[in-house]
Amino acid sequence: MSAGILSVHARPGRSATVILSWFLFAAGITLYIFTATARHRENPEERVMPTLVQMTQGMYNAAMQPAEDDAPSSEDVTQAPSVARRFLNSMLWKDTVATGRRFLYSMALLLPAVILGLHMGLFPYVGAFFLRFVLFFDKIVALSLLPILFIAFGIDELSKIMLIVIGVTPTILLDTFNLTRGVPPEQVVKAFTLGANDFDVAYRVVLKQIWPRVLNSIRLNLKSVMLFLFAGEMIASTDGLAYRIALLRRHMGMDVIIPYVLWVALLLFLVDLSMRWINHSLHPWFKES
């Protein structure tokens, strides 16, 4: 069978797969370097597209030096601290911790949404009470409600976390609801005939089998979580990764912004990867990805 390389039956070899899957990365990086070099030749002080050297330097400074706004007093400089210590005092680490903390809080607040979604799907009265409202609430563009959020939650941490919760919770809620509804009713009936009570059915029959899909759904919403978090930090903040990016934009500090963006992507990728790994080891029977 002489299937062309574009046919459904094509079977790329191992090396072809590797090369193809990295091709766009290489093309993107090459294009960037090429353009950046050309722009720097024309204007040595170019800041919009920094060179790799500048970005490395920018990132090194970000990871090894404290942020300017909390520069330590000059006495600290005399003793040279270890690399790890310097990293823990750095701007990058401080921003990552601030953003990471908000991220974890909001992830934790997604759990009640899962439980509520389960109950909505299983208990008709709970469903009747919440469903219409959540469906409506889901369509609200959270960002446009900011002034109300400020009044209700102040301009500190809480308003940023609530922005994420309001933005992402309805999606998770409705998804859990749908997954719960998707569990074959025969199973529920069967569980009852075997002597299960409401609690058993909800948590030991239904939740147990939708859980991997719920985790997946949370995983796919990581980007929305991050988007709302960034929006919140850019609007009013004193620290965080997006705060730094917003500040650096004011004077075209692209040599730090680009590595920061890549750093965020890397962190998100790692969270995603670990969630996939947890999902896989908790539910080895679950084969969808």
Partner: protein, 354 residues
């Protein structure tokens, strides 16, 4: 939608003009001293002057930050910005820039507002909302320095807040003690009871300048088309300035037409103009540009920019981003002039030679 509209206009105009006219784009953003560009375009005044010099000038409205980005990326040829951003954005990014028109200076438009009548010396440890690394932070810096409280500055808890949300954020969160922002937000916030202004830009006159700048590379084009752009802009600008400052029934009509450019009312626009020191005559603008005062004020601004790292992380001294003045003097290294103030075009307008 507006992009399609602009594309359409572009298609239409390019179809009409068979001869290849040099075409330039001017960007502006909403601010009392810049909104006149909306009317310049709308009323045909700009077109009249562009035609006189045989060029075409397109006018486009931006948000402030994107207008700076577009200028630095060389997507537009001229733009409105403050003296501080002219120094720390294009000039510090290696895009030599020339200020051709000094439109006005902020004379109360930017203000430091506080809740419950607290004093400047009480700000330490309190939360203050502002857009960091902008003229707002400069104003705060100056307010503290003038009152001998510069050491306290580090203790103020600055919260970087987007200008779109700063008014609601400050008004709704009573834990915030102070804010530094500009009009129209200042007017909006001051309407609330218990909020007072501690310091405003009228106490540092001429330090926050609103300019029209052109990329030096465009201005110095060998075919002279950049010069024509500067002359056409100056001619059109001062024609409108004389209309805005005239006394008579027509003035209000012009002012409301300008106010419409920012969806504003005549009353509100007039209120903003009252705290904007417009240079209505080209002579007054040129005089300001030629005065030694300008150098002193720019010295303060460039020191601030350098101390806050706004000139870039690899700039060793403020002298690396040098500024030249109409009298030929240079602030900084002679071979690194990145920002030029010229009074040529204001002068030509004053002499009626445009």
């Amino acid at each position: 939608m507006s992009r399609i509209f602009i594309a359409l206009i572009f298609l239409l105009t390019s179809g009409v003009s068979f001869a290849q006219k040099p075409t330039f784009t001017v960007g502006w953003s909403i601010y009392a001293g810049w909104t006149p560009y909306y009317y310049l375009n709308q009323s045909g005044i700009l077109k009249k002057w562009a035609d006189k010099y045989g060029i075409a000038i397109k006018v486009q409205r931006f948000d402030y930050a994107p207008s700076l980005d577009a200028f630095v990326a060389k997507n537009i040829d001229a733009v409105t910005m403050t003296n501080m951003e002219a120094l720390d954005m294009p000039a510090a990014s290696g895009v030599p820039t020339t200020a051709i028109l000094i439109g006005d200076y902020s004379n109360g438009n930017d203000a430091l507002l506080v809740r419950n009548g607290i004093a400047l010396k009480d700000l330490a440890g309190k939360k203050l909302l502002l857009v960091q690394k902008t003229v707002s932070e400069y104003l705060l810096d100056r307010a503290m320095a003038i009152n001998g409280l510069r050491d306290e500055l580090k203790k103020v808890r600055l919260v970087n807040t987007s200008d779109a949300d700063i008014a609601t954020a400050f008004l709704s969160d009573t834990n915030t003690a102070a804010t530094v922002t500009w009009k129209p937000m200042v007017s909006q916030i001051l309407k609330q009871k218990g909020i007072t202004s501690l310091f405003d830009s009228s106490k540092i006159p001429g330090e926050i300048l609103d300019l029209t700048v052109v990329r030096s590379e465009v201005l110095d084009r060998p075919d002279g088309s950049g010069q024509k752009l500067a002359k056409a802009l100056a001619g059109a600008w001062y024609e409108l300035m004389s209309q805005m400052s005239a006394t008579g029934p027509g003035t209000d009509k012009v002012l409301s037409a300008i106010a419409a450019g920012s969806q504003d009312t005549l009353a509100s626009y007039k209120e903003q103009l009252s705290t904007t020191k417009m240079f209505y005559t080209p002579q007054s603008a040129a005089d300001f540009g030629n005065s030694p005062d300008l150098k002193g004020k720019m010295a303060l601004v460039r020191t601030f920019c350098f101390e806050h790292g706004l000139l870039g992380s690899n700039v060793a001294s403020a002298d690396d981003v040098a500024i030249s003045y109409p009298d030929g003097s240079i602030q900084g290294k002679k071979d690194r002039v990145r920002l030029r103030f010229v009074s040529t075009y204001m002068q030509l307008a004053a002499q009626g030679k445009l």
